[in-house]
């Protein structure tokens, strides 16, 4: 028998033949690359994988993946996901959305997807701006944001997407950033492994309309002091030399010098602890402010909860067991008939 040489799957196998049309320098490129590479690493079956998106720059994503895909309408991605997964639970579904798509027009669907816990990986590209409509402020833009639609600064208080997700009963809540592919990659893999809705917020730089929005977190000079990379089972420690830690004073998080506290008093991150995870998602200070808490990146929260589409399928199966296989003629007849001769 001739030896069949197994072809190694590479990231390129997941790239469609379409030209990628994001602006040069856009953070989306890095995310696309990581997703394709993770698909290859996990050897996801192209024919059984579906990427679904709404509208916006990020939502062009499915066109660039050589899998099944649906580019849908603004904000409604979660509803398409819910329908497809309910009809075909065995498919591997990913949803791509942005801060305008999921936090604004699609806010309603976003929260309901999370509470239902449909098994899907949600990549929320947060660039704190509307890109495709050319630079208006978004629901995650900081207060006072000057844009074309807010020439005197925005009045709106922004959403904190992860805190919103916790409130909406999400079962997997994580944050990463476009400029740290090494961090993004394992988060994507963990998200893919999670059964239920995996929400991964990705800080993504829009170099045209909101360049540098996340520089305090992503650039070398400031990253160490402004971010904290959280890992399950590890202490909340940050700073260039790991010299700072977060501890809880009651329910209030505080930054302390690591030399000032006993090891036993460190906050060890437990991603299964809902209350502490919720506190972590509240680390949302403006890094420019004095005494700001560092912005956490990593998996905040994970919970094993029943998956929506499996519940639907189980109910159908149980009903078949109880009532027997369907008989269309019985249904057509109904409970009461009479015969005219």
């Amino acid at each position: 028998m001739p030896e069949v040489k197994e072809k190694k799957i590479t990231a390129k196998d997941y790239a469609s033949d379409q030209d990628v049309k994001w602006c040069p320098g856009c953070g989306d490129y890095s995310i696309l690359k990581q997703v394709q590479s993770v698909c290859a690493e996990l050897a996801l079956k192209k024919d059984e994988t579906v990427f679904i998106s709404g509208i916006g720059c990020s939502s062009r994503f499915p066109y660039y993946m050589d899998t099944y895909g649906m580019h849908s309408i603004h904000g409604r991605g979660p509803a398409f996901v819910m329908g497809l997964k309910t009809a075909r639970p065995e498919l591997n579904v990913w949803m791509i959305t942005g801060d305008g798509d999921s936090m604004s027009i699609g806010g309603n669907h976003f929260i309901h997807l999370l509470r239902r816990n449909v098994d899907v990986n949600v990549l929320l590209f947060n660039n704190q701006i509307y890109g495709l409509t050319k630079g208006q402020y978004s629901p995650t833009s900081e207060k006072g944001k000057v844009t074309k639609s807010t020439p005197y600064g925005s009045i709106d208080h922004p959403f904190n997407p992860l805190s919103l997700a916790m409130g909406a009963e999400a079962t997997f809540v994580a944050r990463t950033m476009d400029r740290d592919p090494k961090h993004m990659r394992p988060i994507l893999i963990e998200g893919e492994k999670h059964r239920g809705t995996s929400l991964i917020e990705i800080y993504q730089n829009c170099n045209i309309f909101n360049d540098g929005a996340f520089f305090p977190f992503t650039e070398k000079a400031t990253k160490a002091d402004n971010t904290i990379f959280i890992e399950h089972g590890k202490a909340l420690v940050f700073g260039a030399e790991g010299e700072k830690a977060i501890v809880l004073d009651g329910f209030t998080p505080k930054v302390v010098s690591i030399s000032d506290i006993a090891e036993a008093d460190l906050w060890i991150h437990d991603k299964y602890d809902r209350v502490k995870a919720s506190i972590l998602t509240r680390f949302f200070d403006d890094p420019r402010e004095e005494g700001a808490l560092p912005r956490p990146f990593g998996i905040f929260y994970q919970e094993n909860r029943s998956v929506y589409e499996e519940g639907v399928t189980a109910q159908v199966e149980r009903h078949i067991e109880e009532k027997g296989s369907p008989n269309l003629d019985t249904l057509l007849e109904g409970p009461n008939t009479w015969t005219i001769k």
Partner: protein, 616 residues
């Protein structure tokens, strides 16, 4: 005991009216089932307030149920009632207009006390039972409340519970009047209250009390007999429109082997379709009550992309919300059935009342050129075949399809000759075949002779492809901004819908000659009234014909030719003139509108009158 006369009647219309908490719908429903089981032809029309429990005793809170049954074929719930049953003063006030001159009023006098008269806004000291309002009618007063309490005085049940069974007294009394047996209702009560035996007993006791009251009270000089109808031999059941829609959808799913997926959001008067579908999970039916109307349809589209039969159900306001997604389904070119159980509009309008004013919404209510086939059901039972046909067109032509019904036929019921599953027409389902790497590239928008693209579902080897709302290249389906391509795509999407005309029946006449003085051209739920009117006019010797259009887009190919064979075309519609604009525009026919926009269906005499005016 005096002589009770037994009169034979061809047809009778009873209108039950009372507070929305009086069990009027249940009473009407029971009489309907009993009449149907006896072999009468029937047609019903429930008419209830938008509020679940509007203030008791007020006109706003009156719930009605009109039942037409006969030994002859019936197509409407009856223009006017022979018998009006009123549980209180408000019910009389709001329904007396519907009673025939000389008709019978059965009044629960407990509902005409001072308080009820005041709530019904009668002036102080005025009681319509004795002030001459009812001159010329046969009035029969019973203290239903008192007799019911008397009957159950030893039951140990509380007054509230006792009073709730007073509708059974009325039902029993009417069963006596119309020579009906109590068995069917007794069986119903035994099932309904199987977990509360004391309520079975009490309700049956009151039902019987009503029946015997008729026997002993010498209250009414006549009993009536309505013999079984002379309808085609066969097995029949009673069916409501929304139930027929649900069963039609399930039948299509069973016949095709596609799983039925209904993504929807509750809305009056469409919710019952969801309720029915949710019960039939053993048919593989998956229902999702989504977070809103938009999510409902988007979920259905997602399911269709996955190879299910995607359905969404709603009414006008919900359809408005779904507009963008319907456009997406149009450009995706995948099967989807959108059911609109129309109600009075615009906006929230008249949620519990009927109208057929969403035709334009179905035809044009989207941005861009977005042609969508539209089918309308004509009667409660026809909802079955219309739903089945909507599925056939959606699947075979890869397109969203609108199914229009309305509150009148959705809640109305009539007997339906049970169809065998083997007699249902076939629906062809063809998924795109798997493809090997060396095979030619897959072209998701390459069309067949019907201009229909392949349905390629995830999980099929080698067919990975992307669809979206952006304009597509003619064959590859890739995003294309090419000007020539866009025009070509708009034209081909239109051609695809137009082509459906080759796969639907030609327009037939329902009655009359194929040329003449007047053609009554109707669509949707006006069918019964127009049919009945046509029969009356033809019997009078008038040259009147009737055509009823079921396919509103595309129209049957011969319709233009057909309408031109009559001197006048009259188009009754429960709207301000919508289908008429299409007929005038397409065929340059000077059609005459007959429009009723009252939230109520046509009565036959309105149509007869209009035809006679035109003929005069």
């Amino acid at each position: 005991m005096g002589q009770i006369e037994n009169q034979i009647k061809d047809e009778v219309t009873i209108l039950f009216a009372g507070d929305s908490g009086d069990g009027i719908q249940l009473t009407g429903g029971q009489f309907t089932d009993t009449a149907a089981l006896l072999g009468n032809d029937i047609s019903t029309f429930p008419n209830f307030p938008a509020e679940i429990r509007a203030p008791q005793g007020t006109v706003a809170g009156v719930s009605g149920f009109q039942l037409h049954f006969g030994s002859v074929e019936l197509f409407t719930p009856g223009d006017h009632a022979d018998v009006l049953v009123v549980m209180n003063a408000a019910a009389l006030k709001s329904n007396l207009d519907s009673l025939k001159k000389g008709g019978i009023v059965i009044a629960n006098i407990a509902g005409f006390d001072k308080k009820n008269l005041r709530l019904a806004k009668y002036e102080d000291g005025v009681n319509p039972l004795n002030d001459g309002t009812l001159d010329g009618y046969k009035i029969h007063e019973v203290d239903v409340t008192k007799i019911t309490r008397e009957t159950l005085k030893e039951s140990g049940l509380g007054t509230k519970v006792v009073d709730r069974s007073k509708n059974m007294f009325v039902l029993g009394f009417l069963y006596w009047m119309y020579n009906r047996k109590l068995d069917n209702t007794i069986r119903f009560l035994e099932k309904k209250f199987s977990k509360k035996p004391e309520l079975i007993e009490s309700n049956i006791a009151v039902l019987k009390a009503g029946y015997y009251y008729g026997d002993t009270a010498e209250a009414i000089a006549s009993r009536f007999e309505v013999k079984p109808a002379n309808i085609k031999a066969g097995t029949y059941r009673n069916i409501m429109g929304n139930e027929a829609t649900a069963i039609g959808l399930i039948a299509a799913s069973q016949k095709t082997g596609l799983n039925l997926f209904c993504g929807t959001y509750p809305i009056t008067p469409a919710s019952d379709i969801l309720h029915f579908l949710s019960k039939y999970k053993n048919f593989g039916v998956k229902t999702v009550q989504a977070e809103d109307e938009i999510a409902g349809i988007c979920a259905a589209i997602g399911a269709s992309f996955g190879g299910a039969l995607g359905i969404t159900t709603s009414s006008g306001p919900g359809i408005a919300l779904k507009g963008e997604a319907i456009g997406l389904a149009n450009i995706y070119e995948i099967p989807l059935v959108i059911v609109n159980v129309q109600r009075g509009g615009p906006s929230t309008g008249l949620p519990t009342k009927t109208e057929q004013a969403d035709l334009f919404q179905a035809l044009y209510g989207r941005n861009g050129e977005s042609p969508i086939p539209v089918i309308a059901a004509q009667s409660p039972k026809d909802c079955f075949s219309a739903a089945y046909e909507a599925c056939r067109i959606a699947i075979e032509h890869m397109t969203p399809v609108f199914l229009l019904t309305d509150g009148y036929i959705a809640n109305g019921s009539e007997p339906w000759e049970v169809i065998k599953s083997e007699d249902l027409p076939d629906i062809e389902v063809k998924f795109a075949e798997p493809r090997e790497e060396e095979d030619p590239a897959f072209l998701p928008y390459k069309r067949n002779e019907k201009f229909v693209r392949p349905w390629a579902i995830p999980g099929t080897k080698g067919l990975a492809h992307r669809i979206g709302g952006l304009e597509k290249d003619f064959e590859t389906g890739n995003v294309s901004y090419d000007p020539e391509n866009h025009e070509r795509m708009v034209k081909v999407r239109q051609a695809k819908v137009d082509k459906i005309a080759d796969y639907i029946p030609e327009q037939a006449l329902d009655a009359g000659e194929d040329a003449g003085d007047v053609l009554l051209l109707s669509w949707g739920s006006t069918y019964g009234a127009v049919k009945t009117a046509t029969k009356i006019l033809i019997d009078e010797g008038k040259k009147v014909s009737h055509a009823h259009v079921k396919y509103l887009n595309p129209l049957p190919k011969n319709l233009g030719e057909l309408v031109k064979k009559y001197d006048k075309v009259i188009m009754p519609e429960m709207n301000n003139g919508q289908f008429i604009k299409i007929i005038r525009e397409k065929f340059l026919v000077d059609a005459i509108g007959l429009n009723k926009i009252k939230g109520l269906p046509f009565v036959t005499e309105e149509i007869v009158k209009k035809v006679n005016e035109v003929l005069a």
